[in-house]
Symmetry: C2
Subunit: 330 residues, 2 copies
DNA sequence: ACATATAATGTAATCGATTACAAATTCGCC
DNA sequence: GGCGAATTTGTAATCGATTACATTATATGT
């Protein structure tokens, strides 16, 4: 492997000149620059990144900490982030916290050891409750989850509004008893619960909720149990795509038909929600935008560490489908 | 930030002793070791990884290059790989090639610059055709795609066998005209095509295939066109999960019912294949095992660079569901 | 032509660890 | 007590880049 000194020797200049050429700095004659570039090609020189990072103190590396990359919502976000990162000459270390505060701390510590330039984080509930951006040695942008009072750059959906709109959609279709299955592991689930409560209260309806861990299997078991123990609801709603899938499985198993026996709706416009029978009414999240906004926020913060905190709130889109198709009541 | 010299001073020893303690090397008195560990705690010392990597020439970093992390097959594999990697104190840089040989080369070059300890790669067709592990400065393990003659560690499904079994399943159910929609971008699609051809030839049936780029939208368009231009097949088969989704959309749009009008089957047991109506017969791939095997192979190769190449061939599992439920013919 | 400003180049210190080698200490045993 | 071996410890070189500072070459103005 060629080192910078080899290039310098080959080009008949000093290492400083080589370094300046490669860094695109001014103060190098065209002749010297030309010779250096030729030598770099000739020797197939590639700078040692470890040395560069040691000297410069910068790593060109970002961290991304999500609950689980297998959740299509995070998959999509992660892809958008990585594309932008690589396009800007940065790398991304992906970490899965599994909603586990301990794992989350492990990964955040690791990212600090890596001296990352910044981190995009979807925090566990436990961390979010005491989160302060200033507690970290690197800039942090929160994604998907954020409390109203959190002092941090963030990109989130307006969960309360989205949940309210979804509920009003159901209420207009004469649903009286709407059961919500929501994930307790994240702030997102709780905010959607809040929107649900306020919409039902506004309509004078009694809420009916089940708090669960946000997994498909747990959602399925919860609905099956719910159906056994309660009179049939008019509608069931999932606070996330994973939960929605569990509800579909359970309804199928129970032999209930949508929208005739019961209405069904949820969050996350995953591809399969279009092709099941019936296709399902959902709140679609602009996942690619969320990811892109998050990394743009992070890159801006890295460039300008002292600028004011920014929060980007995106609006969910209500996609009406057959699972809630029923005449609208006045 | 505390440096190793600070720890040495605080503990009243030399930097060499501190380094030895931290590396777990022998030849340090218990008293000194104790004092060092206390000082490390007291100063909250964390070694500078850039410096360590510069000096040691090792990076503890792996590369993972897949076509697209949004493909659930790769999502699953990637998660398994990352879990094992972090458990072994390594990091993973994830790269999406989008089946584009140029992007692939860009990322492989970047990983070389990063001086990664090894790479797990699902190669594009173009790269696979001329792939030689010895062309790279780091060990490479192929995953998902591999040619019979490729000289490389690899973890793959027995695609020919799996496709044959799937075809026999359909043929036994009296399908005469079986249309295969296969992805041309990867070796995997072509191997499944091969299995399809041999199974149909053995049964004396005429093949009916459409080569497409492996995306849902393209698959959907292809089937719609196919139905317009050809007499109705007895069965349609997808060579991957993404394609299968497109076929489902198209059948729905055409108003065709499974299994009454036509049989349907494919690859990849994605969660939604269980909940659509009808649920779909598929070849399930042991994705978690594939990922785990791949990184275990890679770690072994890193530890033992000279050992013989190993290829792990896994068997797909045929999961029979309603989309192919029809009486078996003698 | 000379003084001075400006541009180009080079030398050597530096980042923070690891480790070869040398030096110092301790130990066992006669 | 003293000698050699084994253990412990320290000093300084090293990894490969960046960059402050010094120096030399060129340009400008009168």
């Amino acid at each position: 492997m060629a080192r910078i000194s080899d290039v310098a020797k080959h080009a008949g200049v000093s290492v400083a000149t080589v370094s300046r050429v490669l860094a695109g700095q001014p103060g190098v004659s065209d002749a010297a620059r030309e010779r250096v570039l030729v030598s770099v090609k000739a020797l197939d020189y590639h700078p040692d990144l470890a040395a560069r990072r040691l000297r410069s103190g910068k790593t060109d590396t970002l961290g991304l900490v999500v609950a689980d990359i297998r959740n299509p919502y995070f998959t999509e976000i992660s892809r958008a982030i990585e594309d932008v990162a690589y396009a800007n000459g940065m790398r991304v270390l992906l970490c899965n916290s599994d909603e586990d505060a301990e794992k989350e701390r492990f990964y955040l510590d690791m990212l600090r050891d890596e001296n990352v330039a910044g981190v995009i984080l979807s925090p566990t509930l436990s961390l979010l409750s005491r989160f302060r951006a200033c507690d970290y040695s690197f800039p942090v942008v929160l994604v998907d989850r954020c409390a109203p009072e959190t002092e941090a750059d963030a990109v989130v959906l307006d969960n309360i509004d989205a949940a309210q709109r979804l509920m009003r959609h159901l209420i207009e279709r004469s649903s009286q008893r709407i059961a919500l299955f929501y994930g307790t592991a994240s702030a997102t689930g709780l905010q959607r619960l809040e929107g649900y409560h306020s919409a039902l209260a506004a309509a004078g309806l009694t809420p009916q909720t089940r708090a669960i861990r946000p997994t498909t299997t747990e959602a399925r078991a919860a609905l099956i149990e719910h159906l056994r123990e309660h009179p049939l609801p008019d509608a069931v709603v999932a606070s996330s795509g994973l939960i929605l899938l569990g509800l579909v499985e359970a309804l199928r198993e129970a032999g209930l038909r949508c929208p005739d026996d019961i209405l069904l709706a949820g969050f996350d416009d995953q591809p399969w929600t279009r092709i099941v029978t019936p296709d399902i009414t959902v709140i679609a999240q602009p996942t690619a935008d969320i990811g892109r906004s998050a990394i743009e926020l992070l890159l801006a913060r890295i460039a300008q560490p002292e600028q004011a905190m920014r929060r980007i709130v995106l609006r969910g889109e209500l996609i009406t489908r057959a699972s809630t198709s029923r005449p609208i009541q006045e």
